[in-house]
Amino acid sequence: MKKIIFIFLFLGVINGLFAQGKLTVSGYLKDAKSGETLIGATVFVKELSTGTTSNVYGFYSISLEPGDYTFVYSYVSYTPVEKKISLSENIKMDIELAEISTELNEIVVTGEIEDENISSVQMSVNKLDIQTIQKMPALFGEVDIIRSIQLLPGVSTVGEGATGFNVRGGGVGQNLVLLDEAPVYNSSHLFGFFSIFNPDAVKDVKLLRGGIPAQYGGRLSSILDVRMKEGNNKQFAASGGVGAIFSRLTLEAPIVKDKASFIVAGRRSYIDVLAKPFLGEDLQNSAFNFYDLTAKANWNINENNQVFLSGYLGRDVFNADNVFASNWGNATTSFRWNHLFNDRLFSNITVFYSNYDYRLAFGEGDDTFDWKSRIINYSVKPELTYYANPKNVITFGGQGILYEFDPGKAEGRSVGEITRIELDKKYALEGALYVGNEQTINDWLTLSYGLRFSYFNYMGEGNGYTFGDAETTAGRRPVEGIEAFDQWESIETYQNFEPRFAFNLKLNPTSSIKLGYNRMAQYIHLVSNTVASTPLDIWTPSTNNIRPTLLDQISLGYFRNFKDNMYEFSVETYYKDYQDVVGYIDNADLLLNEFIEGDLLLGDGRAYGIEFYLKKNKGKFNGWVSYTLARTEERFEGVNRNDWYPARFDQTHNLNLVAFYDLTERLSFSANFVLISGTPATFPTARFGFQGIEGIPQNAEERRNNYRIPVYHRLDLSATLQGKRVKKNGNTRKNEDYWVFSVYNAYNRRNPFSINFQNNPNNQAQTQAVRLSVVGSFIPSVSYNFKF
């Protein structure tokens, strides 16, 4: 309570300090055709050479001395609007910008203002707009947000089929993936082949990997902030496509024109439907599909209040006859309320529910096994933004999350006798309070600073375990004591102050130096020791035995634009220092294990690297090159002879080339090329046998990750053919459509996903190394897309 009073006092003080004698121009920036709010659009005051950008809800606010001003509202690929404003009282000014018609449009690689990369204080940010993503060659022709982001510096994957993504050497579980502010626990369909976001319903995608501001927390490596469209509030619109894997359909329409609208977007894979005629009788009852449904509605109650309700439901389903069933997926619901206290104080409160669960069942009749696991969380997240003056934008707020972990419930039947394995649920409460300010000191220096206080309470109802020492270092620790705790009773609490700081030093109008420092605390851990993360991995809270992981990251970058922003260049370097990274004992048992904490280790981690990025924004031929040189290492007592070793996600070199070429108005081509160093793996040095069982691998030197799998490289190509815009009678067609033809892995390389050591199946006395290539040939595809 004290803290809340403090915040209000603080608010009063800054209000007094900054607000005297100033008047405010505020409002929303919107697309003229659909009424969608525009995120990150620019508001520029000519006379003062200063400005602001719209926030994630399209809202902007700027406070100035009374006087006459010329406001320029702009957004890339939209026609700018200029307004003369005579400021003698507070003004509400909602602006609609019209998209530049497609015939004239060149491909625009960025959705931001042209020199945003130079002027903004935010560094280490990856942004891609949907038009760019749609033009890139994609696996099976399916436009995919996460796979596209992996072509930007600092983001990668360990290969096709690996769930999620890795940022600056961090694990998959270190990314906070937000869909309309609700966290998504598994961002992939079909393991890692497709991401769960329907591109037709996505409005904005932003990935932060360094210099992370105070309003974000809870994960160490990155924040992927995905915002869904609100739905066209002017007229009915539909879009969709038919591809090799999915068919998609999105419908949007006003409920009350200009006041309320909705959007519903669905996708479903249909391999199983197509395959049915070719399957044997025993597989006729099989299901093999994945789908997602996104729905959202918003209501503009009055000029000071707007509410949004969004929901997501996605699922992967695999059933084989009646003997095997498995499915998993996320479900999220978030309710948001934007409220304007006054022209300068914007608030949003988000209430969300998020659920991730999976089920695995096999057997039939009297002999079955049925296993379920889930993680649920409920959260409230108020946030206020105070536009004190053109030089200070203060953001403050908090968040409370209640977690319910259900690590596993299994029911087995053996000859009709039922047995149950039920691991206790675990509960935890995570809270945070934060305040941050983005302060423009003068023309050449902008600061962003803030502080986040986070708190974690691992609590009952449940058991707290204590463990004794392992027989050998890095061995399994035996359970020594079990203590029962009541509901809400704390088993362990943690708290951390997480300072955040960044600056932008503008050297001249075309170059700047930026620095970012952030401390992050992560209280829940994704437990996985497989080569690729799996949908069956479980999340576990920090406990009395497992401390939260802390990260300090410092990034430094140089940003430079050339030739009137035609070229953008940046070089960024980072150093990350981890404390209490979670690792695993050898032969760890992570599934359905009540004493899982005894199989986990805490160690140190470090990651450092340098990222180069060069992008050509304009012209018929454009695209980018990114190259990252990096190292990620970890160290655990008793592992690898106590030495540092390269972590699973360590990739020394990572090169991406993305190119677009517009041949004619209707026909364009694109290509991307990826080259990544092989990831580390532990290989054996020796073998032995017993009782006729041969070829047991042995690593006599006890080194972990002592080898690397071979290098990964791949070229993808695609061509996009726009449908005719003009009918035979000369009228413009109302509908838009386009075809995308693509080839993934164009030169047919067998990229190794992993190397396994095994006995020759036909001769157990012989050993061999087997390369697994997830994509073993080139994959051509075609998709048809429409919009009307």
Partner: protein, 307 residues
């Protein structure tokens, strides 16, 4: 958690079948040759007759020649009653053998603990084990099944035995087809009580289905790798042994199986399997691999005949 590993592979196999062009191929890799280590294969039982402890050296991973023999070691087993059994390598083949003085003499006795000592190259290695109880085999049955879910038509067998009351009993179910021990990683069939793992809450039950049916092994047709042969055909001789093992022995076999069947998208990192052979010299950096186990054994045998 081998059931889970199996499921991963199953799902993935499913995907490959329909969606992808994934592939596995054999490649050449240069590996460092590690320092050779003493490798111990010592599984003694309560069965009449001689008992053998095989000593070899580990060899580099891709070395497919027979393992180097360990000669000139001193091998002894002592039980908890103070009886000492000496194992001798009379014919210098690395197989150290204890031979009973009279045909009725048996080394292993239920409930006793055993300590193995090996003196080799100036170091002494020791390991201990205990002979635990085994369940009664109720029946070893078989039936003909039609083709289903990729499993070929043919004879399938099932072993029925009920885990003994009280948690913590561990067993190794060893299968012999026509006298040949099924020795692949995926053939290792082990039970913790009636199930796969501790805390499985399956004490005192019949072995769960995957264990009962774990004696059915599938191999590819040597003529055509796309054809899977049925586990058994008419005339096949099937013998099943249940070895009682210690809990540590269970984990050893589980780890061996994990390492030998590792692969696919969800492979786990390669790690050394455990050993209970401990060098008694704390100043020596030499470590042994392998395992010493003492087991009680029950056996069932049948010949597949037309129904």
């Amino acid at each position: 958690m081998k059931n889970i590993a199996y499921i991963h592979r199953f799902i993935f196999g499913f995907l490959l079948l329909w969606a992808l062009s994934s592939c596995e191929d054999i490649i050449d890799i240069d590996l460092d040759a590690g320092t050779p280590q003493l490798s111990v294969d010592a599984w003694i039982t309560d069965q009449p007759g001689s008992q053998v402890v095989k000593l070899r050296l580990t060899r580099s991973y891709f070395d497919n020649s027979p393992a180097s023999l360990v000669l000139g070691a001193t091998v002894e087993v002592e039980d908890s009653e103070g009886n000492l059994y000496t194992f001798l390598d009379a014919d210098n083949d690395g197989d150290y053998t204890w031979t009973p003085a009279q045909p009725t003499e048996v080394l292993g006795v239920l409930g006793r603990s055993y300590t193995l000592s090996i003196a080799y190259n100036g170091d002494t290695y020791k390991a201990t084990s205990k002979i635990n109880r085994t369940p009664r085999i109720d029946s070893l049955v078989y039936e003909f099944r039609e083709e289903r879910l990729g499993n070929p038509a043919g004879y399938y067998a099932e072993i029925f035995a009920r885990d003994l009351e009280g948690p913590g009993d561990c067993y190794w179910i060893r299968t012999y087809k026509n006298g040949r021990f099924l020795n692949r990683g995926q053939d290792i069939n082990i039970a913790y009580d009636a199930g796969f793992s501790a805390g499985g809450n399956v004490d005192g039950l019949y072995f769960i289905t995957p264990i009962r049916e774990g004696i059915n092994i599938f191999v590819e047709d040597p003529e055509d790798s796309n054809v899977i042969l049925p586990p058994y055909s008419i005339g096949d001789d099937l013998k099943v042994e249940i070895y009682s093992i210690t809990e540590d022995g269970f984990y050893f076999l589980e780890e061996v199986q994990t390492q030998l069947t590792n692969g696919g998208l969800f492979a786990v990192p390669l790690t050394n399997v455990r050993t209970n052979i401990i060098n008694q010299n704390p100043n020596s950096d030499k470590k042994a691999v392998g395992y010493f186990s003492a087991s009680a054994v029950v056996v069932a045998e049948t010949v597949i005949e037309e129904e």
